[in-house]
């Protein structure tokens, strides 16, 4: 999978490394900004109140 992506990136080694870095940062950003905030309430790690539900 990753080698497939690597082979389909344009440019020489340095350009590919740079593009990979940008892609990784983009993925981490999407995770932190959208995916994790969405997933967090669905997981039972951070409920702090007492309630009767």
């Amino acid at each position: 999978m990753y080698s497939w992506i690597w082979r389909h990136l344009p440019g020489n080694g340095w350009v590919r490394a740079l593009i990979s870095l940008v892609l990784i940062i983009a993925v981490v950003y999407i995770l932190f900004q959208y995916v994790f905030p969405w997933a967090e309430p669905l997981l039972p790690f951070n409920d702090v109140t007492v309630d009767n539900q």
Binding site: F32, F45, N46, T49, V50, D51, N52
Partner: protein, 261 residues
């Protein structure tokens, strides 16, 4: 030296030449990867997926325990500044003195737990608590605000980990420790008198007007702190009860009561 090298005239030169010659053919037919069979390709793809999943989970831990704190502390500090600004404006002149409950009603100081002040806002929904503040209960049992002057239970909740982790150090509170609630013009000094280190998350009785599990039988001015326990999980709830000892008027310098000095 390679075993394939076959002896001939000049030994040194031949060795170098032969190495070049044997290396080139081995590396020039491009990727050895193309030779992977379909099974090996599936296995390698699956392996990469597992590694990715592991990295995503590690990132989620970083997000929960670090990033949410960064964001929440920033939001809480901003909201706290707004509240302080409003108070300062209100005390200057004839502006409306009634505070806006949306912006937070005051600050909680628990020196045994942390040196920081904790902004208190209305409600205990995730939306409120995720801003790095403590919330007072409106549901299932409505909290009695100390500002109302009535007897009752001022019940609060905040995160133990992540989102500011304002009640992270709740286990450091011991009996007798002060819990001080600061409003615009009064300090409410409470004293811890009971701790319930573990209770069911369905135990809403801890929020009642007279919390029986704390050992109190009569109505009074109580404060209840609730958060999750053990740390990093939400299996049980940790409860700390305090009782109002006295109130102090806020002076012009906002000199804190002696418990906070």
């Amino acid at each position: 030296m390679r075993s394939s090298v076959k002896g001939s005239g000049n030994v040194a030169a031949t060795a170098d030449d032969t190495e070049d010659h044997t290396d080139t053919p081995a590396s020039s037919p491009p990727p050895a990867r193309r030779r992977l069979g379909p099974v090996a390709m599936v296995v390698s793809f699956f392996g990469e997926l597992l590694i990715t999943a592991g990295l995503v989970l590690a990132l989620f831990v970083a997000y929960s325990l670090w990033w949410t704190n960064v964001v929440a502390d920033r939001t809480a500090a901003k909201q706290a500044d707004e509240v302080r600004d409003n108070w300062a404006k209100g005390s200057d002149g004839d502006g409306p003195v009634s505070f806006d409950t949306k912006d937070g009603i005051g600050f909680l100081h628990v020196p045994a737990m942390s040196g920081d002040e904790i902004l208190v806002e209305k409600g205990t929904s995730m939306k409120v608590l995720n801003d790095g503040v403590a919330g007072y209960y409106t549901d299932p049992v409505k909290a009695a605000l100390p500002t109302s002057g009535k007897e009752g239970n001022f019940s609060l909740a905040a995160h133990r980990d992540g989102h500011g982790a304002k009640f992270h150090g709740i286990h450091k509170i011991e009996k007798g420790d002060p819990i001080v609630f600061e409003t615009k013009d009064k300090w409410y000094v409470y004293k811890t008198f009971a701790i319930l280190p573990e209770t069911s998350k369905y135990n809403v009785d801890v929020l009642s007007k007279i919390p029986k599990e704390s050992g109190r039988k009569k109505a009074g001015h109580y404060i209840t702190l609730t958060t999750c326990t053990p740390v990093y999980t939400s299996t049980y709830r940790y409860i700390v009860w305090g009782e109002l000892v006295r109130t102090e008027k806020v002076d012009s310098d906002r000199t804190p009561p002696e418990e906070l000095r």
